[in-house]
Subunit: 321 residues, 2 copies
């Protein structure tokens, strides 16, 4: 059962002491949506924080807006723990205790999910929203809080990153309707925000991207393209993994590629991001390896080497074609 945005707004107005949880490996939608609702709650005089336990990606630093904290004890009393852009405990690893402090538990998300391991007191899950930022936009409106420039920047970032700059098929008339309204906020400039998100690549990251794209492995007559980022590669170019943001969509730009894969070796495991151009079901492939996501974009994690990961993955990808 899905609660309405209006009923959630009514409930929020009566609460104070709110911890907000974006998912691990936070992206523009997770952090932007979290900060936007945090700012709106503060505007109503409430104590609210965005709880994180990993560094904010450099290109998203402007989304923090003095909302983020890694201090579990930042609030004496937590009346609500609110999961943003995710719906399971496995998406807030390392923050379980902080989450469990909330007397009430809520969830606002746009990912499909059959069942969650959390008993939510309320939840709003809109699979048809291009970004959780769309739901947050409507929630802030329902709260009666006027959109500030910071909130507009957060929601723009949430939406533009999750829609691939309004190109992905999740983009709808409503998406454009919402962003059209953001443009009416005093001082809003899409270019300013866009430059912060996309135009702060280090020289090393540019070399990294060039090398990954130069060395793509192709399978199935070029319908599958696989890029690989190893720890060695990161070290050689003086980069961290979060600087590889933006490479996955580039892989999709090759003619004939239906499935684009980026294999990322971290110090603990190997993360795989899967994207489809038009018809292959990436959620199904990811779920075979214990991962999840959307039909067109999904992810999973391996504990094998990069080579072994690629070898295990490719046959399943060929089946998905």
């Amino acid at each position: 059962m899905n609660d309405t945005v209006k009923s959630i707004a009514t409930l929020l107005k009566d609460l104070d002491g709110i911890l907000i949880f974006p998912h691990i490996n936070m992206d523009g939608d997770a952090l932007g949506s979290s900060t936007a609702i945090c700012l709106a709650l503060r505007e109503l005089g409430k104590k609210a924080y965005v709880m994180i336990n990993e560094p904010v990606p450099k290109n998203l630093d402007f989304l923090e807006c003095s909302c983020t904290t890694d201090d579990d004890k930042v609030l004496d009393e937590v009346q609500l723990s609110l999961l943003i852009d995710c719906n399971g405990m496995n998406r807030i690893t390392g923050r379980e205790d902080a989450f469990n402090r909330g007397k009430l538990k809520g969830c606002i998300d746009h990912h499909m999910s059959k069942h969650s391991d959390i008993r939510f007191d309320f939840k709003r899950m809109e699979a048809k929203s291009a970004a959780t930022g769309e739901i947050i936009y409507n929630l802030i409106k329902a709260l009666g809080v006027p959109l500030s420039l910071d909130m507009a920047n957060c929601i723009f970032t949430a939406i533009t990153t999750d829609t691939g700059n309004f190109q992905h098929s999740n983009t709808t008339a409503r998406t454009h309707d919402i962003v059209g309204h953001l443009h009416k906020i005093e001082g809003f400039n899409s270019k300013t925000i866009s430059a912060l998100i996309y135009d702060r690549k280090s020289k090393g990251a540019m070399h990294l991207e060039a090398e990954v794209l130069d060395k793509l492995n192709y399978y199935a007559d070029g319908k599958i393209a696989v890029g690989r980022i190893t720890q060695e590669l990161l070290k050689r170019h003086g980069c961290t993994m979060d600087e590889s943001e933006g490479i996955a969509p580039r892989i999709m730009s090759v003619d004939g590629v239906e499935i684009g894969v980026l294999i990322k070796e971290s110090e603990m495991n190997v993360r795989v991001s899967l994207r489809a151009k038009s018809y292959a079901n990436m959620e199904r492939v990811a779920s075979e390896f214990g991962g999840g996501g959307h039909i067109m974009a999904a992810g999973c994690t391996f504990t094998t080497s990069v080579d072994e990961t690629e070898k295990a993955l490719v046959p399943k990808l060929i089946e998905a074609l």
Copy 2:
């Protein structure tokens, strides 16, 4: 004096035999806008063609919609020649005679221009429109023609390419309002069109891009980045120069780069594209070398070698910082 969209629509309804002219080196806005209005005029039962004399870029082939022709004699009588996304004879080189066949001459454009060398019977120049496609959208509405899927695709291409996928500062609330309406057209899918525009890069073009970005030359503490595409490089990767589309904006994504330069060696000369991120005046630099353009994006041509071109250019770029 600017004519209203409504008065232009009224005039168009009374005319037949219309030649439409996108500018040379046609882009998504020029061709998409031209084809969209051509389709709308045909919907009204009129004979209309888009007049071109160069090949359509491969990634824009879907915009032709059986409208384009290079045959000056395709119409017995030309009641109107209509310039789209440009306003001077120097932008329709090689098609002057065809243009002059029009008894009436009109212009629909969003570029600023002090004066044109053409005496137009009507013109609509909206510097605040992000793309000429926005004006065409309103014109088709004023004509009372329901937007077909082909028209929607053409207008989406015009707008998304001219706004850098809704990121550039020319993007407005109206831009999103119009594209929101396109999403309501039966069958419209931004992803489908986006994949046609951006995701048909050859493997060779991907290698070309990787190599150019890997070998950028930096000057002035990294404020200037220069990419080079030589004939040797094109040959080695089996590419043509029009496949280098998309590299210039990538150069701007490096942190700290204010001026991004792409030097392109053709068989006849060396063309230079200059872009600024926020403050450097590229039009001024280009004009010192006999070129022109806008403040943020300009171009010029050299007859020297690629090395000599770079050597001549860099001191002037440093002055512009």
